[in-house]
């Protein structure tokens, strides 16, 4: 009873605090100065039509690097928590999944049709991050959704964890190397102007942003795939 009452008090007081935010909120009529300068500078200085990608991969690319580090730590800690000593992990994979009912024909055929399409779509999202909505994180998540579909449709399917970790580490190292190249050849760490900016709006443009986007997509896709693999029984 006391617990229920305290929950109600907590919810109501939190709700009142949030309601004061709604009451005091007024919609912005024009972008703030910082937003304005980003909107002006990203197409001019970086040559990227998508302002958000320009912010994520150049102006705040250090943030993105930290975020990639967080993802790496999550993959490691999930591996630590769901480590090999886990009870059902004993025995080869075939024994563990043999009791599982195989997925139906519809799911298997659907997977065969969809996984290549999902992979192509992921590549499209990653490589067009500087032109339209998209980028490395989003495309990497799409890659991982393809891996998840494979894991659901074929319980025996096992992505090679060694290949995934090596690819991921190489992509991460190259990301940092591109950043260091910016330190030498351009204005600072992770500056995208180490490569020619090219024609505004073209596929090969915006300097190193497509390269960084591709590396990020590969890294995120591999990391999420490893994470999914860890979660299976």
């Amino acid at each position: 009873m006391i617990r229920r009452l305290s929950i109600i008090v907590a919810i109501v007081s939190f709700g009142l605090a949030l309601a004061s935010i709604v009451i005091g909120y007024t919609e912005q009529q024009a972008p703030r100065p910082l937003a304005k300068s980003y909107i002006r500078l990203v197409p001019q200085e970086l040559g990227a039509p998508n302002v958000i990608t320009g912010i994520l991969l150049t102006y705040r690319a250090f943030d993105t690097l930290g975020e990639v580090a967080v993802l790496f730590m999550v993959a490691v800690s999930a591996g630590l928590v769901l480590g090999r000593e886990r009870l059902p992990r004993n025995g080869p994979l075939a024994d563990r999944v043999d009791e599982v009912r195989p997925s139906s024909e519809i799911v298997q055929t659907g997977t065969q049709v969809l996984v290549p399409l999902i992979s192509i779509f992921a590549a499209y999202i990653i490589m067009n991050g500087h032109l339209t909505a998209g980028g490395g994180f989003q495309g990497g998540a799409v890659i991982a959704s393809g891996v998840l579909l494979m894991l659901l449709a074929y319980p025996h399917y096992q992505p090679d964890p060694e290949f995934l970790s090596i690819t991921e580490s190489v992509a991460g190292a190259l990301f940092i190397l591109v950043g260091l190249a910016g330190l030498i050849a351009a204005g600072g760490f992770l500056d995208n102007r180490i490569l020619p900016l090219g024609q505004f709006g073209a596929f090969f443009s915006a300097g190193a942003i497509p390269v960084l986007s591709a590396l990020l997509g590969i890294k995120v896709g591999c990391e999420l795939s490893v994470l999914l693999e860890r979660f299976r029984p």
Binding site: I21, Q28, P31, R40, I52, E67, V70, F137
Partner: protein, 119 residues
């Protein structure tokens, strides 16, 4: 106008998530409540970046370079939301991993079974 509707929705989602976390005793439901709170926060972040009559800050035929500064929404909250979504997913993954371990150790997902760390 639009953004205050979105803002209210996001804040409601935060409240629903908090309510779910406080009332449920099943660890998976607590994790779902936490994810709802996170999603609500993302919606709030995106909503406060909205500029009246703004559009996505992507320069193309629909949004020329000259009018971008007056017609585009604030790009910084959108960039932060991308970051927040990835981190939210990561935190959820770690919580689920711990939930699996807790289930293995005591064969139940009720949080009442784990009293060792209760103060």
């Amino acid at each position: 106008m639009i953004s205050s509707i979105v803002l209210t929705t996001g804040l409601f989602l935060i409240l629903i998530g908090l309510w779910g976390m406080l009332t449920h005793r099943n660890i998976l439901r607590i994790i779902i409540g936490f994810s709802l709170m996170g999603t609500g926060t993302h919606i709030v972040i995106v909503a406060i970046g909205y500029v009246t009559n703004g559009t996505a800050p992507i320069i193309d035929q629909a949004l020329s370079l000259s009018e971008a500064a007056s017609r585009a929404v604030d790009p910084i909250p959108s960039a932060l939301a991308v970051t927040a979504i990835v981190i939210g997913m990561a935190v959820t993954a770690v919580m689920l991993a711990y939930a699996i371990r807790l289930y293995e150790s005591s064969k139940t997902l009720s949080i009442d079974a784990f009293t060792e760390s209760k103060w």
